[in-house]
Symmetry: C2
Subunit: 443 residues, 2 copies
C-alpha cells in the first residue's frame, strides 16, 4: 500500500495534568513522560496542561536530542499550557487566544486563568510544509447543565476559523489536543465538517487502546468514577485529527492509546490517556476519470454543504442561548449595582439630616454606618467589574453569531449554485419556493 | 498599460472618529460620510472608530444599494470600531484580537476598552479571491515618552502574523486602517518587510492630497495643533497597503486623500483624512528569462532576509523593554499589596490587644479604625487585580518575544541556505566563523 514517496509521521498527544503541587505525582509523571518521549522519538509531540514553564524547560532539556525543536505557548495569567516538541524544524509559530473562556470568578474551575488558546507551528517535514495545531478547550464540569456550552461552541467555531484560514499554504494539517467534547458533540461536528479534518480513531484500520478510543477512563487511578457518570467506562475527548491537501494524501495506518496504566510504573502518565497516531503522507493521486465523476463530486459537495448549514444553524442557536444568558447576567449585575448605589445615597441622606440640623444626634451607630458604606462600595465595584466582563462576553458572542449568520448565507448561496447536482439530491432539498425562508441569512 | 483582463478595485479607508456625544458633529459627519460613500461607490470601504453599532446600522441602511455586503467586527467592551462595506459578496469573516492593548486603568485613553483587533473578510472580486483586512492600532499619545510602544510593536507583530498566515489562499491582499505609526516606525517596517505588503502612497504614480500623504493634518479644524508638535504640518498614520500573489500582479494607479475640508460642507468627515486608492489587478506575467535571473532573485531574497532579521532584532529589543517595564510594574503592585496586608494585620493586632485584655479601652477612635481597614482592603483588591493584569501582559510580551526569537533563528537558517547568492553579497555578511554569534536564536 505504501509507495516509495511515502512520508511517515508519528504524532503523540497528551493532556499532562501538570498543576504543580496540586496534581498527584506531578514530578514523577513528568519524568516518566520525558523518558518515554525520549525513547519513542515521535515526530511530533503535542502536550496540553503543561502549566509550569519550568516543567516545559526541563522536558526541553531532556528531549534536546530526540526533539531538538520545540515551542511553549504563553497566554492568560497562568499560561495556555500548550507545548510542541518536534524532530523537524519549526519555522514559525502563532497563537490564537479564544475570545471566550469561562468566568474569572469561577476560580475553582480555573479555565479563565489558563488563557485557553490554539497554538500553531509551521514546520518542514522533508520537502513538505506541515501546519501543526495544539489546543485545549474549556472543560465540561456538568454535562446535564453545562453553563460553558456556548463558550465551548464559540471556541470550536474560532478553532475551525483559525485552522481553515491559516492552513491554505500547508501540504498537511495536524491537530492534536484535549477538545473536551465527545465525538458527536456540536463543536466537534462543526470543527470536522467545516475544516474537513478527519479523526484518526475513526479512520485507522489498526487500533490498540481503550474501548471506543476513550481517553478519560474509569480504570485510570487518577479519575474519580463520580465525574464520569453516566459514562461508566469513560469518554473520548482527546483527539488527533488530520487532513491533506490537493498535493498530498494522508492516511492513518495505526493508532493507539494508553490504557490507564504504564508497565513497570505505579501510576499512569496523566489522568488522561495518551494518544499516538501513525500517519502516512503520499503524493496525491487524481481520482480515476469515471463516467459520473464530476456530478458525483458535486453531489457530495452539495450534501456536505447542506450538512454544514444544519450544524451551523444548531451552533448559532447555542450561541443565542449564551447571548440570552449573558444578557440576563449583565442585567442582574446592573440591577444589583443600582441597588447598591441607592442604598449608599439613602445612607448618606440619613447621615446628612442631623449634620445639617447641627448638633442633633447621629441616628445610627458609627460602626454600622461604616460597615454599610463599605458594603455599598464593594457592591458597586463588583457589579461594575461584572458589567464590564459581561459586556465583553456579549460582544464576543454577538460577533460569533454574526459570523455564523454570514457563513450560513454564503453556504446557501453556494448550494444554490450546484444545478448539476440537483437531480441526484432533489429528495433532500425543499421545493424551490420554500428554500430562501428555511435559513434566512438576514434573519 | 492596462490589459483587457485587468480588474480595477477602488478602496476607501477612514478613521471616522465616531464617539457618540463626545466627537464633534458626529451625526452630521456620519450623514456626510454616508452620502459621499453612496455617491462614490468604492468597491471596498474600510472604516475605523465606528464605535456605535447604531451608527454602523444606519450606514448599512444608507449604503444598502451601493454596498450590499458589509460586516461589523465586535470586540472588547465598546467594540473594535471596525467595519467593512463592500460591493462584492463577503463569504467569510474572522477577527483577531490583539493580545496587548494598553491598560484598563488608563480610562481617559480608552484604547483598552475598544478591544483593538484586525478584522478580515474573504470576498470574491469576479473570479478572484481577495482577503481584505481592516485594523486600528493603539494610539500614540506622546512620541517622546511612548509608554505604549511595546504594545504597538506587539500589535504590529501579531498583525503581520495574522495577515501572513491567513492570506496564503488569496489572489490579492488589501489592508486599510489607522496604524498609528509613521511610515518609517518600527512596527510599520516590520509589517511591510514581513508580509511584503506595499504602500499605495509610495507606489502610486498619480497622487492628489496632502503633502507627504499626511492623514492627520494641522489644517483639519478638529485637530489641535498642540497634539502634532513637533510635526507642524501633520503626520501620516493611515494607510492602504496591498499585495498580489503568484497568480495576480497588483498596482496602484491613483491615490488621493481629503485635505482637511469637504467642499460645500462646514467641516471635514473626521479628524483624520480619508484615503482612496485605485488598485489594478492583472494576471501575473512571469519575469523574462534573463541571464542572471535566478541568482539576482536569490540575492534579493537574501538582502530582504537580512533586513528582516535586523528589523526583528530591533522589535525584539523593544519588546524586551516592555517586558522589563511590566516586570517592574508587577513588582511595585506586589510590594504595595504586601504593605497593605502588613498594615491590615498591624491594625488588627492593635485592636486585638485591648479586646484580649477584656474591657481595656480601644486605643484608637472607631472612625479611623474603619477608614484604615477600608483603605487596606482597597489596596489589597487593587493590587491583586493589577497583579493579574501585569501577569497577563508579561505572558503576552514573553510569547511575542519567543516567537520573534524563533523567527530570527529560522530566517538565519534560510539565509545560510543561499549559497548561490554568496559571491554577490559577500560584503554584507560577517565572516563564516562569526556568523552564529551575531544573532543567536537560542540567546
Amino acid at each position: 500500500m505504501a509507495n516509495t514517496d511515502s512520508v511517515s509521521v508519528r504524532v503523540f498527544s497528551l493532556n499532562c495534568w501538570g498543576i504543580r503541587y496540586l496534581s498527584k505525582h506531578c514530578p514523577q509523571r513528568y519524568a516518566m513522560i520525558g523518558d518515554m518521549l525520549c525513547k519513542e522519538e515521535h515526530d511530533l509531540v503535542l502536550l496540553q496542561e503543561v502549566w509550569s514553564e519550568k516543567d516545559y524547560l526541563s522536558l526541553k532539556k531532556k528531549l534536546s536530542c530526540s526533539h531538538p525543536h520545540s515551542h511553549y505557548f504563553k497566554s492568560g495569567v497562568i499560561g495556555s499550557g500548550l507545548a510542541i516538541f518536534s524532530k523537524h524544524r519549526i519555522h514559525d509559530t502563532f497563537l490564537y487566544r479564544y475570545s471566550l473562556n469561562g468566568y474569572p470568578y469561577m476560580a475553582h474551575h480555573g479555565d479563565w486563568f489558563g488563557g485557553k488558546a490554539v497554538g500553531m507551528a509551521v514546520l518542514s517535514i522533508g520537502k513538505l510544509t506541515a501546519n501543526v495545531y495544539v489546543t485545549h478547550l474549556h472543560a465540561e464540569y456538568c454535562r446535564e447543565k453545562d453553563a460553558y456550552l456556548p463558550h465551548r461552541v464559540v471556541q470550536a467555531w474560532e478553532l475551525q476559523q483559525f485552522i481553515r484560514h491559516t492552513s491554505a499554504g500547508a501540504d498537511v494539517v495536524i491537530l492534536g489536543g484535549d477538545l473536551n467534547m465527545h465525538p458527536q458533540d456540536l463543536g466537534n461536528r462543526l470543527l470536522r465538517a467545516y475544516t474537513g479534518l478527519r479523526d484518526s480513531y475513526s479512520e485507522t484500520p489498526k487500533f490498540d487502546g481503550c474501548e471506543d478510543g476513550m481517553t478519560l477512563i474509569a480504570d485510570n487511578p487518577f479519575i474519580s468514577k463520580k465525574e464520569l457518570v453516566p459514562f461508566e467506562k469513560g469518554i473520548r475527548i482527546d483527539y488527533i485529527l488530520f487532513k491533506g491537501s490537493s498535493e498530498m494524501d494522508i492516511h492513518c495506518d495505526y493508532m493507539s492509546t494508553t490504557k490507564g496504566s504504564v508497565p513497570d510504573h505505579p501510576f499512569p502518565y496523566s489522568d488522561h490517556e495518551a494518544l499516538t497516531a501513525e500517519l502516512r503522507l503520499d503524493p496525491h493521486t487524481p481520482a480515476e476519470p469515471g463516467s459520473d465523476g464530476q456530478s458525483k463530486d458535486q453531489d457530495c459537495a452539495a450534501g456536505k454543504g447542506a450538512e454544514l448549514v444544519d450544524i451551523l444553524t444548531e451552533a448559532r442557536t447555542e450561541v443565542k442561548v449564551g447571548l440570552h444568558c449573558a444578557e440576563r447576567m449583565r442585567y442582574t449585575a446592573t440591577r444589583t449595582g443600582v441597588m447598591g448605589l441607592a442604598l449608599l445615597i439613602l445612607e448618606l441622606a440619613i447621615a446628612a439630616v442631623p449634620w445639617l440640623a447641627l448638633g442633633a444626634e447621629q441616628p445610627f451607630p458609627r460602626t454600622s454606618f461604616y460597615l454599610l458604606a463599605a458594603l455599598c462600595f464593594a457592591i458597586l465595584l463588583t457589579t461594575f467589574l461584572l458589567y464590564i466582563f459581561y459586556t465583553m462576553e456579549l460582544k464576543s458572542l454577538q460577533g460569533a453569531e454574526d459570523q455564523m449568520r454570514l457563513a450560513i448565507g454564503s453556504l446557501q448561496e453556494k448550494l444554490r449554485g450546484f444545478p448539476l447536482a440537483q437531480p441526484h439530491n432533489a429528495q433532500r432539498r425543499p421545493p424551490e419556493g420554500q428554500e430562501p425562508s428555511a435559513f434566512d441569512p438576514e434573519e
